[in-house]
């Protein structure tokens, strides 16, 4: 008697589970996990994902860390997505290595994992990576700077990087810029191992105005003749411009940057930034949702772009001083596509 009841109970549970699984397959669940939900870049990403999800009738759960580097919250978010039976996870990992084990668990549970913007290390930890080619982004502004500066052979270059941790986006942009400018970077994953005499120095900015100003002041103290300034992003570029202005050297140096945020594009228009490489967070997220739907339908896994280990969502040079041989758009055109 007891045994029969128990069995009935189990089969009822199995039925319920089966029914649950069936209905979950009908309406696809996608997860979007960003580094933070405050950075306009990720806000735009969320917007792109939400729009695409609405269009395709996909249910979307979004999660975000409290600040860049908040690994714990992201791990918990991945676990929630596994528990909820998601078909796919779009994630911008706060730490390229630390999240790999939990991502393996998600893959084992049959979930499609796509890294957005920031690749994992190794990058094949996820099924695919949809990202800006950050090396190319750096290379574009490097080429532009070399073609714009009067005497590139005797340039004095300051490099304003992100942080002492040298994460991948940091070295890719930095080394891409130097390559584009025509400087031997030695190890392309190491910032600061170059011995070219045109490099005045590297300093870190934390990617904001205050850090950009302080780093620029420090490097101007090393050499007041700096005339080319690479910056990791546009807020850092704005800070660098403040420092140059306060030293009375604003006209002597050309600032280049990466991102394509609206305030940054405004700064290109105002002449504060010479050129910036624009990336497309909205496109990253909407393509990611498309890929999840495709995977839920027939199990197709997205393939990387030719010659790269990730799917390139594109990068465009924005400048009002176009150079022959380098495709670019003007700041006015860029204002229609900028994020944030």
């Amino acid at each position: 008697m007891t045994r029969i009841t128990a069995l009935t109970g189990v089969s009822a549970l199995a039925l319920a589970l089966g029914a649950g699984a069936a209905s979950a397959q009908e309406d696809v669940l996608a997860c979007l996990i960003t580094k933070t939900d405050t950075n306009p870049f990720f806000v735009k990403m969320k917007e792109g994902a939400s729009e695409a999800a609405n269009e395709l009738g996909v249910e979307l759960n979004t999660y975000a860390g409290k600040l860049d580097g908040d690994v714990e919250t992201q791990v918990a978010a991945v676990e929630s997505c596994i528990a909820a039976g998601a078909s796919g996870i779009l994630i911008t990992p706060s730490d390229s290595r630390a999240l790999v084990p939990v991502i393996e668990q998600a893959k084992e549970a049959g979930i499609l994992v796509i890294a957005l913007d920031t690749p994992f290390e190794p990058s094949d930890a996820a099924h695919a990576t949809f990202a800006t080619d950050n090396f190319r982004a750096g290379e574009l502004i490097g080429q532009w700077a070399a073609a714009t500066v009067e005497d590139p052979e005797n340039a004095k270059i300051a490099l304003l990087d992100l942080s002492a941790a040298e994460v991948s986006v940091d070295y890719l942009r930095d080394q891409g810029f130097l390559t584009g400018f025509g400087i031997d970077v030695k190890d392309p994953t190491d910032i600061g191992d170059e011995d070219d005499e045109r490099i005045v120095g590297h300093d870190v900015t934390q990617g904001n105005e205050q850090g950009g100003r302080q780093a620029m002041e420090n490097l101007l103290q090393v050499d007041p003749g700096i005339n080319v300034v690479y910056t990791i992003n546009e807020p850092a570029a704005a800070g660098a411009h403040e420092a140059l202005s306060s030293f009375g050297l604003a006209d002597q140096a050309t600032i280049v940057s990466v991102d394509g945020g609206c305030p940054g594009v405004e700064d290109v228009k105002a002449g504060v930034i010479g050129a910036t490489s624009m990336q497309f967070p909205l496109k990253m997220a909407s393509l990611g949702i498309d890929a999840i739907v495709q995977y839920a339908e027939d199990g197709t896994v997205p393939q990387p772009s030719d010659g790269l280990d990730f799917f390139n969502t594109g990068v465009t040079l924005v400048t009002d001083q176009p150079v022959d041989g380098i495709d670019s758009i003007t700041s006015d055109e860029a204002l229609e596509q900028c994020w944030g």
């Binding site: 405050t38 950075n39 306009p40 806000v43 600040l67 002492a164 600061g192 300093d203 870190v204 934390q206 990617g207 904001n208 105005e209 205050q210 850090g211 100003r213 302080q214 002041e217 420090n218 103290q221 090393v222 807020p235 704005a238 800070g239 411009h241 403040e242 202005s245 306060s246 305030p263 405004e266 700064d267 105002a270 504060v272 944030g340």
Partner: protein
């Protein structure tokens, strides 16, 4: 009379007698003597460290470091954290800690910027609103600490997040651009103005920092209010028994600290140029670093506010000196870490002074 006076003449023999007062045997080694001097003058340690580090970096990094230009640049670079450290000192002297100082500052900078740049309110009014807002934010901390009886660490850990969230909500995590401030409200950048004397460049922000320290030093050392801050920080119950209204005291300390943070907010707009909601995220820890290196006891009631100024300058001198000597950023962080530990170790050693 003469005979009488001669017989009464004790005075003349006095010079020959032993005129020592009863005392403990003095067995001070030179090190103990130093310990005593430092105990009496807690600010002496940071002053010595500051002077020695300037001398050492002057030798190592050369003229580029030891120029009037660079030394005043260091003052510009520490001015904002310096003012925050002044606010932090008030709280720490009262045996509390304030993790929300930088969050209050950034929030007030964003409020002033939004009011003037987006809504077109005249800058002086925006500044007044921000100053009042800073005092109100501090008041909130003070009420939670005294009336709700929450530990200062927990209170300000909470308000840090609250103020940070409000800041991101108000700003949309977007910076207000420097050129927009120039057009709409240049007054917000008042403290970015520079006085040049020879190679030296003193910003109004640096002068403001020094003024803040001088005024607070006067309040802490020359007024009853200031003595009460030390008394409450040293022993709250004893202060209460001595008739000090400790709750009112603490509320005023937190509100004043909030006001000082808002002053720092105004100065920060001049310093950074733009208003960045993401800047100074670790400003609270940097202010505590300056206070600790400045020889102010984290247990309250001991130390001079001027120590925090020297503490902030020491950090600035180390960063600039190491940078000009070509040391990697990583090792600058490493050096500051050791500075904190050594500063606290010295403080503990001085406190062990006997008799």
């Amino acid at each position: 009379m003469t005979q009488d006076s001669a017989s009464q003449d004790y005075e003349s023999s006095l010079a020959r007698s032993d005129n020592n007062v009863a005392s403990f045997a003095r067995t001070h080694t030179p090190i103990q003597t130093i310990q005593h001097v430092l105990h009496g003058n807690p600010t002496l340690v940071p002053v010595i460290v500051l002077l020695v580090s300037i001398a050492v970096f002057g030798l190592v990094a050369g003229d580029r470091f030891f120029s009037a230009f660079n030394l005043t640049l260091i003052m510009q670079q520490v001015s904002i954290i310096g003012i925050l450290a002044a606010a932090q000192t008030l709280i720490i002297l009262s045996a509390g800690i304030d993790l929300s100082v930088a969050a209050i500052m950034v929030l007030m900078a964003v409020i002033a910027g939004k009011l003037s740049v987006d809504l077109g309110i005249p800058a002086p009014i925006s500044v007044l609103i921000a100053l009042a807002g800073g005092a109100a934010a501090g008041l909130m901390n003070g009420l939670l600490v005294t009336k709700a009886k929450l530990p200062p660490f927990i209170t300000t850990l909470g308000t840090w997040s609250i103020f940070y969230a409000l800041n991101l909500w108000l700003s949309g995590a977007q910076s207000i651009r420097s050129s927009d401030i120039d057009t709409a409200a240049p007054f917000l950048k008042f403290f970015g103005n520079v006085i040049e004397v020879g190679g030296a460049r003193i910003t109004f922000g640096v002068i403001l920092m020094v003024l803040v320290f001088v005024v607070l030093w006067y309040m802490l050392n020359k007024t009853a209010w200031g003595r009460h801050v030390y008394a409450v920080g040293d022993d709250k119950e004893a202060a209460e028994l001595a008739g000090i209204r400790t709750d009112r005291m603490l509320i005023s300390v937190y509100a004043l600290a909030g006001l000082v943070c808002a002053i720092a907010a105004w100065a920060s707009i001049g310093r950074v140029g733009s208003i960045s909601p993401q800047a100074f995220y670790e400003g609270n820890l940097q202010s505590i670093t300056a206070v600790v290196i400045g020889g102010i006891s984290l247990f309250g009631g001991r130390g001079s506010i001027l120590g925090a100024l020297f503490g902030a300058l020491i950090v600035g001198v180390f960063q600039s000196g190491l940078r000009l000597a070509g040391v990697d950023v990583l090792w600058q962080v490493f050096a500051i870490g050791w500075l904190i530990i050594i500063a606290v170790a010295i403080d503990q050693w001085i406190r062990k002074v006997s008799a």
